[in-house]
Amino acid sequence: MLELQPKPQFSVVIPPKLLQEGYLVHFSSDWPSTHVAIREKTFRIDAVNQVPYDLSYILPTGLLGTLYRDVDFSNGSGAFQESIYPENQSSLFEVLLGFKPGNFISHWYIPAGKSVHNLEYAQMYPDLTNVKRKYLGARQPKDSPYDDPRIKLYFVKDLAPLIMRLYVLPGVAFEKIVVGLTVNKCLMREIAAPTEDQLLKAKVIRYYDYLRW
């Protein structure tokens, strides 16, 4: 058989999932004043280094919301701190996070106790002790699979602690929760006077509060 492949009419370019060398990032004005070193500033990524890291926990079933594990991504030697944050002002950590399959959910808080996924009506916030609202804002393993992570986090020096609360759903005595991280370490260099074109091209990184208007 002789076959002539027709010339494609268009091609699809899938952009990389992670920031690359030469990319621009801009930190919006909603960053708190404690982050004056990056707030409303634009940076060029000079170097990147992807660091894979797996975290795992074996937890019992959550018993009406009274048993759970908090994973604190901030730095320190606390029992639940994982020390994933950068220590340098010129570093930005872009983190991809995925879960291996399992019988559990995760809730997200920044800082501790302040949920990222509230609704607007009173009491419509995630609550593990409530049979319905424990699913409000809950991220399940299928939402961000280990091999195709969809949850992306941005960490800078001295960011308020970001907490991932892990809760094993009823139906199993224990579950192993495996969290796969890819920490994309980005070395940033400030662009003192970015052009309009640079600002348009820059990836805007907003503070977590923008999710809670």
């Binding site: 074996i58 937890l59 019992p60």
Partner: protein
């Protein structure tokens, strides 16, 4: 897929060590009690220590959970395939335990195929 043959005993025998970022799945299992003179119950045990968590007891108690159980009469050999073992998952180490001790003229061999996933 790795596999291992162990001699069943009334003290648990290691099959697969715990791997922190994976579970152990049983993929195939053969219990050969042809050299045995006693009926035995063979179990697959899941042995692990839970992580620290809010509401955890002090100290945290080690767990030893039965994940699979079968009675194999003396002189018999039974095989289970991947489909039969679907859902047999160990969070920690996988071990084999027998209700009867290994003895000079009473042997039972267990072949386990497994994967860390």
């Amino acid at each position: 897929m790795p596999s291992i043959v162990v001699t069943a005993d009334d003290e648990a025998v290691d099959v697969a060590a715990e791997r922190e970022n994976a579970v152990v799945l049983a993929k195939s299992l053969t219990i050969d009690n042809q050299g045995g003179i006693t009926d035995r119950v063979i179990t697959l045990q899941d042995v692990f220590t839970p992580s620290n968590y809010y509401g955890a007891p002090t100290p945290i108690v080690d767990q030893d959970i039965e994940r699979f159980r079968a009675l194999v009469v003396a002189g018999d050999i039974i095989t289970w395939g991947e489909e039969d073992l679907k859902g047999v998952k160990c969070l920690g180490a996988m071990q084999v335990l027998s209700t009867v001790a290994d003895a000079a003229l009473d042997h039972c061999y267990v072949t386990v195929g497994y994967e860390h996933e």
